[in-house]
Symmetry: C2
Subunit: 344 residues, 2 copies
């Protein structure tokens, strides 16, 4: 059980430590027979380099952090994590997860100062955390944002995102094409850009269709449980605004709450009310009925964010970019054409 070190390998192979190090790091300029000797010594001893020693001496952390403003669980976030993890491993980087929901955001900064990680990926809410963002910028820490926030506050950061406004407009336009004219909107009221953009897309679509925007049809609330929020908002909305024949929920989680609330009221989807979501989380295809929604490429967003971050870490002169990935409408079974019978 005694730890095998690089020194042991060097002795066994009859070479210097530096030569073993060269082999480990795939440096050129190692004679073929030497290479063989070292490789077999490594294999015989089951040698694996000490990661901490390596980090300390090289000054590289080979790790990045992913910071969430809220929980680290849930379908949306977990799809991002899965993809980011794979991409990080592909580059031999470690991925650390941080939630600043309950924790002090300074933990994140300490991870950087303590040389645990060389940069971060921030979600929308984390990107809104003034203290965190301010420290990140004053320390000149590389970071990438997934989902938009105000660019002014992130002059050196890259973005990997979708066009929420456009996508929300398309979702609404789909309902309009189905003949709906009385379309409700439910969303969060967290002051995050994503939410503003989606509401704005909804409004634009209505406007272009010549339908006046009605405040009382677009309800939003702050809260931590999308399901709970949606449930209450929709119950309230449907029971008071009887003209509504369709609802656009600004996230799939909200849409699921809407599905459930509507079910509880004894109404049928999509016969009585059409519901469209946004995000296309894995579970969107598993609801009853399966949810029509806007697909955003979460896996691609996460893997590109990782790649851009690593690029920036390895080449600090890399210029920030703003990647906008395409979304698409996914038609399933939660919407159907408006019919006169729907008017209650």
């Amino acid at each position: 059980m005694a730890t095998v070190t690089l020194d042991d390998v060097a002795k066994r192979a009859g070479v210097s430590k530096k030569t073993v190090s060269r082999v480990l790091n795939n440096e050129p300029r190692v004679a073929a027979p030497t290479l063989e000797k070292v490789k077999s010594a490594i294999a015989e001893l089951d040698y694996v380099p000490n990661v901490s020693a390596r980090k300390l001496s090289s000054g590289k952390t080979m790790a990045i952090g992913m910071v969430f403003g809220w929980q680290v669980s849930g379908p949306f976030v977990s799809e991002l994590i899965e993809s980011a993890l794979q991409e990080s491993n592909r580059h031999d980087y470690n991925l650390f997860l941080y939630s600043i929901a309950n924790n002090d955001p300074m933990k994140v900064i300490e991870a950087y100062l303590g040389k645990q990680v060389d940069g971060f990926i921030l979600d929308t809410l984390a990107g809104k955390n003034k203290e965190l963002v301010h420290r990140l910028n004053s320390l000149n820490v590389p970071y990438v944002l997934i989902h938009p926030t105000s660019k002014r506050e992130h002059p050196n950061a890259s973005f990997v995102r979708i066009n929420d406004e456009l996508a929300a407009k398309q979702a609404t336009e789909y309902l309009l094409r189905l003949g709906h004219r009385c379309i409700g909107y439910i969303g969060f009221h967290a002051g995050i850009t994503v939410e503003k953009d989606r509401l704005s897309g909804y409004q634009q679509a209505l406007q272009e269709a010549g339908i006046p925007f009605r405040e009382e049809w677009a309800v939003r609330r702050y809260g931590t449980s999308p399901f709970g929020i949606a449930y209450e908002l929709v119950t309230d909305l449907i029971s008071h605004q009887k003209q509504l024949t369709a609802v656009f929920a600004s996230t799939d989680a909200l849409a699921m709450g809407a599905l459930s609330a509507i079910w509880h009221m004894g109404l049928r989807i999509p016969d009585d009310i059409s519901v469209i979501g946004f995000d296309d989380i894995a579970y969107a295809s598993m609801t009853a009925p399966p949810l029509t929604t806007i697909h955003q490429p979460l896996d691609e967003i996460a893997s590109l964010a990782v790649r851009l971050l690593i690029d920036k870490i390895e080449d600090p002169s890399a210029k920030p970019v703003d990647l906008v990935l395409p979304t698409r409408l996914v038609v399933r079974d939660s919407c159907k054409p408006f019919s006169d019978g729907q008017v209650k």
Copy 2:
């Protein structure tokens, strides 16, 4: 941007490095005025210890790994991760995530040999990986299993689990109490203990109720998409076994697939068919209708597993334990009493 080291702090405070180290590690035997001087030097310099240097010199990794046999995303797994992450941070440990779905299980062993982590938490599938388990045991690596697997293969590991057989029996008994006699079962066929236990619990409940077990009502299949599996199994089951008035799905994800399949067939839940799930994932309350299921305390399982693992790491003489946590039936809206009208 020059890195602040312990040496800088020592100079500024006018003490030795060792004294600064003592302060950092909260060792006693530091005079109050000295303590103050060091603390203010740390604050003034914004000093954070280099994690790698600390790990290297102390020989402690202060990190654990969580190994999943399948993906790292999904509601079930992500709830475990969230809770494990919180508990790890509480102990100042880092948490690393590993999936051995596509990756070589040796990556996990290398993380240990490379002194990245001092131990692991394994899920059911990872606990079934012969190569991984063999290496873990021959290297005498501390690990904890969440969910049962054969204990013979894990003589030194602790378990944090539920009694799947008993809980599955209770789920089935609930359906029996509602008057159902023709109860189907859908599950995975992955050869994992959890799955065997749940089927067995179902069988026991039937047997005690004097109802013969019918092979054709208990369908299982191997696959990676619970939704897809459930959808096909249930569609097939319901269309061929018309006597069935209730279905027990061995996981909530399968139950969601069942809900969707039944919806697609134009049948109503629970009026035409009752469905009960297992796990009580976050989304179980968000389905339409909300799912009646067996709750298992995923957060507690994960946090206890972390605590047991850290105990074992810090005190290798700690004896393995087998913690069985209670489950409970959560009644929502996907089941209702059998009525004669259901016989088709």
